[in-house]
């Protein structure tokens, strides 16, 4: 039934139909927007979460990836956990002693062994990928073959190991492939400033040793014999500067990728010290970081960043 003036009814119906169409369109758009949840900043996965169960973390502090893609994480509960490249929990084990403190360094040797800097017990523990303890080396002290607080391990092409340590004995010690002490370096000032808390070490393809000199907010590079090649960085938030670089790894392009503990970001550097890119900001959302202790590059161009205070690992493709 249509009553009244036909022309007026006509106008009314056009108005109603237009409003209806607009309303449907808005609802559709809203629904569409919601279903179309693209992750920010290239994050392709997040795993972990606070807890003590398998796959959970309690303030994780070190991460490393196998060439095959599996990722190992050690947390402040003294647990080492292995995940597949997608972040699915595979296995885990506990450090034998954790009363004094927990490890803050973890490295996967090219031959598959897992080297864990058992920081507060002044030693490096060596495991196979299933958690079987193979051996350990180092003891408390400041002499040859001794550590104060070891932080990280790097391996060069010939199998020599480089262990960074701090606490009054901030230096790098070199060990032979059969785990015998070879020498120490890094105690001499670099540009007038000695190393302060070398938090991470890595050896690049050209066999240059890179050290994240955390409390001096810089990267220092050495030859394998301890000769200083240079340094760059400095405290600050602008690109090219750093705030407590704790994590360091090499990208497939042989760039240096640094995680800044206080800066809450990742920063890529060329080998000549140019800042190439910055990623991340403080926060809890995907793409945001809270005290990232460590970072590693996995298979298929994935970067795994240890978002420590958020007790999780974020995977992204740069």
């Amino acid at each position: 039934m249509v009553v009244g003036n036909p022309a007026r009814a006509q106008r009314r119906h056009w108005t109603v139909r237009t409003a209806l169409a607009a309303w449907v369109a808005i609802i559709g758009l809203c629904a569409g927007c919601e279903s179309e949840s693209t992750s920010p900043a290239g994050v392709v996965g997040v795993f972990g979460g606070v807890g003590l169960g398998p796959g959970d973390f309690s303030y994780p502090r070190a991460i490393a990836a196998e060439p095959g893609g599996c990722v190992f994480v050690v947390d402040k509960a003294g647990r080492v956990q292995r995940f597949n490249p997608e972040g699915q929990y595979e296995t885990g084990w506990r450090m034998p002693l954790i009363e004094s403190g927990k490890p803050i360094g973890l490295t996967v040797h090219p031959d598959g062994r897992i080297f864990i800097a058992d920081t507060h017990y002044s030693r490096v523990m060596v495991y196979d990928r299933d958690g079987n303890l193979l051996t350990s080396f180092g003891k408390p002290g400041i002499g040859d073959g001794e550590f104060q607080l070891p932080t990280d391990v790097a391996v060069d092409a010939e199998g020599f190991l480089y262990v960074s340590e701090y606490y009054g004995n901030d230096r790098i010690t070199k060990w032979s492939p059969d785990l015998q002490f070879v020498g120490a370096f890094g105690t001499e000032p670099v540009d007038g400033v000695p190393l302060r808390r070398p938090a991470a070490v890595v050896v690049d393809r050209e066999q240059t040793l890179w050290v994240a000199d955390a409390c001096n907010h810089r990267l220092v590079h050495f030859t394998r014999d301890g000769e200083v090649l240079g340094r760059f960085g400095g405290f600050g938030s602008e690109p090219g500067r750093m705030r407590y670089p704790y994590g360091l790894c090499l990208t497939p392009r042989d760039e240096l990728l640094v995680s800044e503990y206080e800066g809450n970001r990742l920063q890529w550097f060329s080998r000549d010290g140019r800042s190439l890119r910055v990623w991340g900001k403080p926060g809890r959302a995907p793409g945001e970081l809270n005290a990232p202790w460590s970072v590693c590059c996995g298979a298929n161009g994935r970067v795994y960043v240890l978002d420590s205070l958020n007790s999780r690992v974020q995977i992204f493709k740069p």
Binding site: M1, I27, E99, S100, H120, G168, R196, A214, A291
Partner: protein
């Protein structure tokens, strides 16, 4: 009816309002006529909607509830983890796992374990028991069994919408709470308790039943001590008795004894050679260790108060300095015992009870443990003892006594509260995340302790590594510590981060102390709490600290073993501070008392002054004239008098900016306390020592504080009965007559951890009074009973007490089957066999549960109001299309927000949209031909409107002429003349006829008009066509065109008549 009620998914809280539903038919009848203007469909719809609105209104007033009935079951398992069944833990866990293998998928399992306290280990969850084997956490307080607490917790944890069952795994030896009362509550709630008994029987067990010594004895008396030892089997062993910690020499037949099965009683007589409390302890050790199972129950203890002259204990930091006071008191025949604080042993409540008063002469708070300070406060408040504190570098606030229990009982506050200019201290705390378990917790506890012990006139700030926004920052900015509660609350909320290095934090603190808020502080101090793993500070920074005279103390949290000690120690020694590596958290309070003392040095006034008499009527000043000039004193510690009318200040130091108490006293509950803020007799008080009235004054002060004991004709007796202690007082006067109607005011028992247990005495016979209290912890229980006669006159204080050597948990030798069976019987529970396969704990033999939830507000918001809107809409919106859109919108809003589909996944939102659209289109399709026609019509009209307009106008003109001619012809045929118009107009019947052209004429006119409009039909035509024209309607009106034609004709006739009249 009840069956129907059970089947309905809703119920009503106040069903009397449902009578409103009877109004629906009345409303329908009343509305039928008023809605006559609507078409029949709308009329029915409107009535239906109105009726539903009334029904829903009735439902809302009746407080409609949704009812969810469920056959699901929740079983709470209660695991007994007390000492008596500690060997059955594995058995209990295995049983739990066994029965949970059969759990139906919809049923839930919750787990509570209990001993002294009950702990929830698993919330009621579907899927069984989830804790991994052996992962039940360690149970604290296994020395007691509080079955009642476990049942209470279980009942609180049950979800409301399932059937409930408790499965109790226990030996039934409950020694705390009242399990049967809780079982009765469970029975009232319909919760059965199934019992799986944990069986055991200890044959080889020896335990002390009791040890009894008289409450009072006289010096020189031989005190009889009785020991009752129980054994299950004959056993031989050695018996040792100690008096005040020393072995009591006993004849050989009493040191090696043979016990027969059952209770064995032994007597020893102990000589009493000193006054005060005599402690007796005894222990039995069987020759064969296998003859005994539980080692904790092989000892007993008791004590006796030995009357004697009142003694005073003077605790001194520097005994030679306090020797003049001791000599003065001795001259006045006050029995005083001088003890160096370093050599103080067994300084507990029982030891304090030996003395009638205690003097703390310039002793630092750090010399005592927290427990000892609590004991001193209990000694004053509850046992009626006296306490005198003397000043010095270690006295009052300067000695770290701020916010201690001792300050609470003193007549002065150790803070400087009035506004005056005194040098301030500044303390900065740097807190770093510690690796050891609970390291951060202890760090925060220490920080809070330092807030307590610092003066509100001092500066305090806390620096920590913060993750948000990241970096070292002030968690508590350096400022006056006036609001301690707020500061402690901030510390509690702190998230202490892992500091990479000390340098940044120390520099931040140094800046605030030297150039910031703390720059005017006289003492500047920093405390670093850490496990020592941040990178150490640079040498340059250490030099800056030394130059600014800021001392740094470091505390390594790691309990000795796990601290990077060297760098922390270096920081402290290089800056003039101290390094502490506490071996356990217990050492922390003392450390902080010592450390915060550093910033409180300004509380000491090290300059001579002459005290002035103030409250001259004070009993302490007897013998001193009001106008007398007191000798000068060399210094004092600043304090503030407490704002309490009982506080008297006989002496003070007058200054330009206020008065400071020198001598203050008050009665604090049962005891009396005195503060003398000066002291150090050889340094500050030399003129006082020379003063002739020195001895007399101090004897008066000390005697005023002494505890007053009651006459000896009061006899008390205490006895432990299970968990309860019975205290009996028999009161006789000096003529050995019974003392009746005595009043026991402020009677409190002080427990082992200084808990105050109020007790109430009832007279149960002539001169016979009894009270009871619960003793749930092993240790000493002491009481001072303030006795008044029937007229309220104080008769003095009775001291009594009891020693509870061990928990009754260690006396349980077998399962308490009686209690367990009673629990099952009271609640209708079952006696389980303990075999998981047989015990069907998940059997659904309980009545289904009903979960009711009030939904009237939802009905009102999302049903009643929308239907009301639709009711209005169905009457007011003429267009079905508009009404369909209204229905669609209302339905969409209700589904999205009322049902909550807007908060669900995307498909729920789409579903809501689809449902609303379907409803809308269902209404629209009923009238779709009309809508289509209307739309078509509109389009055609719009399309041809221009070209037809001119032709239409012409046709209209032609038709008008033809109609006019036709009408004139009819008038002529009728023979009406203009002269007759007047009388016809006055006749209503004739007048009506004048407006009526007849049916044929009207139809002709309508067709003419239709033709003039170009053949298109109006909506009215469609109505006309659809409705078969009723014969009766033909004459009255045949559509709007008939009326128009008649009106036109009538108008013309009227005009002609008017013209004719004019012509006339």
């Amino acid at each position: 009816m009840s069956g129907l009620a059970l089947a309905l998914p809703f119920s009503f809280d106040e069903p009397r309002w449902l009578w409103l539903a009877a109004l629906v038919p009345v409303l329908a009848l009343a509305s039928w006529r008023s809605l006559a203007g609507l078409d029949p469909v709308r009329r029915v719809l409107a009535l239906a909607l109105r009726g539903m609105v009334v029904l829903l209104l009735a439902a809302c007033l009746a407080r409609v509830q949704s009812v969810r009935r469920s056959d699901d079951l929740t079983v709470m398992f209660l695991l007994d983890r007390s000492y008596s069944v500690h060997e059955t833990e594995q058995q209990q866990e295995d049983y739990l796992r066994g029965v949970c293998e059969q759990v139906p998928p919809q049923d839930r399992v919750g787990v509570i374990d209990f001993a002294r306290h009950a702990h929830l280990q698993q919330l009621p969850m579907r899927g069984g028991y989830f804790l991994p084997p052996g992962r039940l956490p360690q149970m604290p307080g296994t020395d007691r069994t509080d079955l009642a607490a476990a049942l209470r917790l279980a009942m609180a944890m049950f979800p409301h919408d399932t059937a409930k069952r408790v499965v109790l795994l226990s030996d039934g030896n409950a020694n705390l709470g009242d399990a049967l009362s809780e079982a009765r509550r469970a029975q009232a709630d319909g919760i059965p308790i199934d019992v799986m008994p944990l069986w055991y029987r200890r044959g080889n067990e020896v335990y002390f039943e009791r040890m009894i010594a008289p409450t009072y004895a006289e010096e020189g008396e031989m005190v009889p001590v009785r020991m009752v030892i129980h054994t299950g089997k004959p056993v031989s062993g050695s018996l040792t008795v100690y008096q005040n910690g020393q072995p009591l020499p006993l004849p050989p037949e009493q040191t090696h004894v043979t016990l027969s099965a059952g209770s064995n009683t032994f007597y020893v007589r102990a000589p009493v050679t000193s006054t005060g409390a005599q402690r007796f302890e005894a222990g039995f050790r069987p020759d064969d260790d296998n003859a005994d199972t539980v080692p904790f129950n092989n000892s007993g203890s008791a004590f006796t108060f030995v009357a004697g002259p009142s003694r005073v204990l003077l605790v001194s930091q520097d005994p030679p300095m306090d020797a003049p006071l001791v000599e003065a008191l001795q001259r006045e025949r006050v029995s005083v015992e001088l003890q160096s604080v370093d050599k103080l042993e067994d300084f507990d409540l029982l030891r304090l009870a030996d003395y009638a008063s205690v003097i703390l002469a310039n002793v630092a708070a750090a010399s005592f443990t927290d427990q000892q300070m609590k004991d001193m406060a209990s000694y004053v408040r509850d046992l009626g003892g006296g306490l005198i504190m003397l000043g010095g570098e270690e006295g009052f606030g300067a000695g770290g006594w701020i916010s201690t229990p001792v300050e609470e009982v003193m007549p002065v506050s150790f803070e400087i509260k009035h506004k005056r200019v005194i040098p301030r201290g500044a303390l900065v705390l740097i807190m770093h995340s510690c690796e050891v378990p609970r390291g951060n917790f202890w760090g925060k506890e220490m920080a809070k302790k330092s807030v307590d012990t610092i003066s509100s006139q001092d500066y305090l700030g806390v620096v920590a590594y913060s993750y948000s926004p990241g970096g070292v920052s002030w968690e508590v900015p350096l400022d006056l510590c006036t609001n301690k509660v707020a500061v402690k609350s901030k510390i509690d909320r702190m998230q202490i981060g892992d500091m990479p290095d000390f340098d940044t934090a120390m520099r931040l603190g140094l800046q605030a102390l030297t150039t910031g808020r703390g720059r005017d502080a006289a003492q500047k101090h920093m405390i670093i709490i850490s496990d020592g793993d941040p990178s150490p500070p640079s040498p340059r920074l250490i030099t800056e600290f030394k130059d600014a005279k800021v001392t740094v103390s470091t505390i390594g949290i790691g309990w000795g073993a796990h601290v990077m000690t060297v760098p922390l120690s270096n920081i402290a020694t290089q800056t003039g501070g101290k390094f502490y590596a506490p071996r356990s958290p217990r050492e922390l309070p003392q450390i902080f008392v010592k450390e915060s003392k550093v910033v409180r040095r300004p509380l000491i006034v090290d300059e001579p002054f002459t005290p002035r008499l103030h409250h001259v009527n004070s009993e302490l000043l007897a013998g001193i004239d009001a106008g007398e000039t007191l000798p000068p004193l060399g210094g004092m510690v600043l304090t503030s008098p407490k704002e309490n009318p009982n506080v008297q200040i006989p002496m003070l130091r007058a200054t330009d900016d206020g008065n400071d108490p020198v001598l203050a006293h008050w009665q604090c509950e049962l005891g009396k306390t005195v503060a003398f803020t000066s002291g150090r007799w050889l340094k500050w008080g030399a003129p006082w020592v020379e003063w002739p009235k020195f001895s007399k004054l101090w004897a008066q002060i000390v005697r005023w504080t002494l505890r007053q004991d009651v006459p000896a004709n009061f006899d008390t007796f205490t006895r432990l009965e299970g968990n309860r202690v019975r205290v009996v007082v028999d009161a006789l006067d000096k003529d050995a007559d019974y003392l009746n109607f005595l009043q026991f005011g402020r009677s409190t028992v002080v427990g082992p951890d200084n808990t105050r247990i109020p007790i109430e005495f009832h007279q149960t016979g002539p001169g016979h009074y009894e009270a009871q209290f619960e003793a749930d912890r092993p240790g000493q229980y002491l009481a001072a009973l303030d006795v008044h006669d029937a007229h309220g006159k104080s008769l003095g204080t009775i001291r009594t007490g009891l020693s509870v050597p061990f928990s009754p948990e260690y006396r349980d030798l077998q399962t308490n089957e009686a209690l367990l069976r009673q629990l099952a019987q009271v609640t209708g529970g079952r006696w389980l066999a303990g075999v998981p396969a047989q015990d069907d704990v998940f059997s659904h033999d309980l009545p289904p549960t009903e979960a009711k939830r009030p939904v009237w507000d939802w009905v009102l918001a999302w049903l009643l109001l929308p239907l009301f809107l639709l009711d209005v809409a169905v009457r007011r919106l003429a267009s079905w299309l508009a009404w369909s859109i209204a229905v669609e919108l209302v339905l969409l809003v209700v589904l999205l927000f009322g049902v909550g589909m807007a908060y669900g996944p995307w498909y729920e939102k789409v579903g809501a949209l689809v449902v609303a659209e379907l409803a809308g289109w269902a209404i629209r399709f009923r009238y779709v031909p009309g809508v289509v026609e209307f739309l078509t019509h509109s389009v055609v009209v719009l399309a041809h409107a221009g070209e037809r307009s001119a032709a239409s106008l012409q046709r209209l003109k032609t038709k008008r002429q033809r109609v006019r001619e036709g009408l004139e012809a009819k008038d002529e045929v009728a023979g009406r003349g203009p002269a007759t118009a007047e009388p016809e107009a006055r006749d209503p019947a004739l007048a009506r006829r004048r407006f009526d052209v007849g049916d044929a004429g009207a139809r002709q006119a309508a067709e003419d008009l239709h033709e003039a409009l170009g053949g298109a039909r109006t909506a009215g035509d469609w109505q006309e066509k659809r409705r078969a024209p009723a014969p009766a309607d033909k004459g009255e009106g045949a559509g709007d065109e008939d009326v128009t034609s008649r009106l036109l004709r009538a108008k013309r006739r009227a005009r002609r008549d008017m013209d004719d009249r004019k012509d006339e």
